[in-house]
């Protein structure tokens, strides 16, 4: 679980481990030095180099866009080709000198200038403004550089370009899923499995999410269908379960990047469903279209895997329960009782239960993102309930009272259970 706060946690743990005698002071210093080398200092020149490279690429792009005719077009093209060659040659030199991050920055700059070159050729020959076609070529160039020069920056550019290309073609065709996406996405995914760069991991996960979001087809977005909320919810649950399973079972680190995005989707969709059921005009019985069924057919087994295969059950079971509660929310809409008081009470209870389960799972597994997502879901849900009440304000007050009392009872039960399972050390001795 290598997160940004790893170093802080290590700083808190190392003195304790040394005091306990599990680790010698020299070893602790060696660990600190190693982590500091990985995370700080050495990165700075490469980071500044990357920013400089981006500015140079932007300068080339603006130069191309100006369409300045005093320099013949072929000379401009030659200049761009030469700049690409210089960038790659410089990357080669930096890699040889033992600065892989600097080399990465140089390759990234080269790929961006390649993109400017594409714009120049488009301008020279008056190619139509087919930006998805341009994005496809940028993606190809990015992938070539990402494979051969092992560049993370080029891979990031390629992933963004793949999304732009696929999204553009999807929008043009105005039909179903764009399957061509996978021709470029699968190689990018394969590359990302051997990379430890978090930006690349997040982009890989987001690109898949973007494709999945577009898969049901243009028509459903054009005339908004509430089934899309259920589809989004099932996808978010799938992402959270996959990310949690990856964290627990040490699956490829790219999969752990699913967790934050899944949580974001979960919080957004559940709160939207809550607003919807409390709104008099919008609380309508929905239906599950083919993609909702497919998404549920994928999400439910993954949640079951999380519950069954996870090593740390104290964290996995509450999380799986929370995700199951979330999956039940659209099912309430499909039963058609949404317009009745019972439907409103069930959906509000399911949302609050899901939020509580997220907080419990986060606290048990020490994953702050889960605690944060659960707390935000809980807090916003209460605000929504106060704004658009179930029945009158008095009914709402009764709902909160019963929900609060139930939670307090569970808390008290849990405290007794934990006291029973983990007796204080003195008694144990």
């Amino acid at each position: 679980m290598l997160t940004g706060s790893y170093r802080k946690r290590l700083e808190a743990d190392l003195p304790r481990w040394v005091a306990e005698g599990w680790l010698s002071a020299e070893n602790a210093t060696a660990i600190r030095r190693s982590v500091a080398r990985e995370q700080g200092g050495v990165r700075l020149p490469a980071l500044l180099g990357l920013l400089g490279g981006l500015l140079i690429a932007a300068s080339v792009a603006a130069f191309v866009a100006a369409g300045w005719e005093d320099i013949p077009r072929l000379v401009k093209l030659g200049m761009i080709l030469a700049t690409i060659a210089i960038c790659i040659a410089y990357a080669f030199r930096l890699e040889r000198q033992g600065s892989p991050r600097g080399a990465d920055a140089a390759v990234t700059c080269g790929v961006l200038i390649f993109g400017a070159g594409l714009a120049l050729v488009g301008q020279m020959y008056h190619l139509p403004a087919d930006w998805p076609g341009g994005a496809l070529l940028v993606a190809l160039g990015g992938l070539i550089a990402a494979v051969l020069m092992r560049s993370n920056g080029a891979l990031a550019i390629a992933l963004i370009a793949i999304c732009a290309w696929s999204g553009g073609r999807w929008e043009e065709a105005r039909s179903g899923a764009h399957l061509g996406f996978f021709i470029l996405y699968l190689p990018a995914l394969w590359l990302s499995l051997s990379r430890d760069n978090r930006l690349v991991h997040h982009l890989v996960v987001l690109a898949a999410a973007a494709w999945l979001a577009m898969a049901p087809g243009y028509g459903l977005f054009d005339r908004f269908d509430y089934g899309l909320l259920a589809y989004g919810l099932a996808l978010a649950v799938f992402y959270v379960a996959l990310g949690a399973l990856a964290l627990d079972r040490s699956l490829p680190p790219v999969l752990t990047a699913c967790l934050p995005w899944g949580l974001l989707g979960l919080v957004l969709v559940l709160n939207t469903e809550l607003i919807r059921i409390l709104d008099r005009d919008e609380a309508r019985a929905g239906h599950a279209f083919r993609f909702v069924v497919l998404a549920y057919a994928v999400a439910i087994p993954v949640v079951a895997c999380l519950a069954g295969l996870a090593r740390e059950r104290r964290f996995a079971w509450p999380l799986a329960a929370g995700l199951a509660f979330a999956l039940l929310v659209p099912a309430v809409f499909w039963t058609g009782i949404v317009t009745a008081m019972a439907g409103k009470i069930i959906v509000a209870s399911l949302v609050l239960l899901a939020a509580t389960a997220l907080v419990v799972a986060g606290a048990a597994g020490g994953i702050r993102r889960l605690v944060l997502a659960g707390s935000v879901l809980f807090g916003v849900a209460i605000l929504i309930l106060l704004w658009q009440t179930i029945g009158t304000l008095l009914d709402q007050s009764l709902f909160f009272l019963i929900a609060g009392a139930a939670l307090l009872a569970i808390a008290s039960g849990a405290r007794r259970l934990f006291a029973h399972l983990n007796p204080p050390e003195k008694e144990a001795a």
């Binding site: 369409g67 300045w68 080709l81 008056h126 087919d130 160039g141 070539i144 020069m149 092992r150």
Partner: protein
């Protein structure tokens, strides 16, 4: 798992070769794009195109001029019963009007059988059942709506920054475009003329 990792497979090739291959491949993509267009300009059949303003209020956008032509709307024979879809590739057979300008005589999904010397241009359907455009550039939606709107890749013309306004203020009827069409139907703008005099000419390179 480690043996199948992309990076460890690639690392078996020396860095120098990889760097050379990267630079060459990126440059080749650009050069291939240039050559593909230059080939059309070098050897393609020339056609003359009258222009019609697509958007009379805003011909000039950014640093390129948006152009449309009478052949941008193609009448489809109702008897052919071919339902074209948006985004589909079509082959438009071109004839000449009395002034020598190209006019569309039909659209097919596959390469049509035509006599020698007849030019066929490839395009993509941007909308079906569109209105006709009359000589003034205004839409005429009175007749049957069995027309396709087709893009040929001739619709934007890049100009140096600041020079687009000059074309914009020119009366649209005076602008003429000469395009080259390859034997495979790909088209590229070769010259832009005002009152029959070349204003911009495009050499292959």
């Amino acid at each position: 798992m480690r043996a199948l990792s992309a990076d460890s497979l690639v690392a078996k090739v020396p860095l120098l070769w990889r760097a050379l291959a990267t630079a060459l491949l990126l440059m080749l993509v650009l050069l291939a794009l240039v050559e593909q267009r230059a080939r059309i300009l070098r050897g393609g059949a020339e056609i003359r195109l009258k222009t019609v303003p697509i958007d009379p209020r805003d011909l000039f956008r950014g640093d390129y001029v948006i152009l449309a032509y009478p052949i941008s709307t193609v009448e489809v024979d109702a008897a052919s019963k071919t339902d074209f879809e948006r985004g589909e590739r079509v082959y438009v057979t071109l004839g000449r009007d009395e002034q020598g300008f190209a006019k569309a005589t039909g659209a097919t999904r596959d390469w049509p059988r035509v006599a020698d010397g007849v030019v066929v241009i490839a395009g993509r359907v941007t909308s079906t059942s569109t209105c006709a455009t009359n000589a003034d550039g205004a839409f005429d939606c009175s007749g049957r709506r069995n027309r396709l709107r087709v893009a040929y890749g001739l619709e934007s013309y890049f100009v140096p920054q600041g020079e687009g306004r000059a074309i914009e203020t020119t009366d649209k009827a005076r602008i003429e475009v000469v395009a080259a069409v390859s034997p495979f139907g790909e088209a590229a703008i070769k010259r832009l003329l005002i009152d029959g005099k070349p204003v911009y000419a495009e050499p292959p390179y």
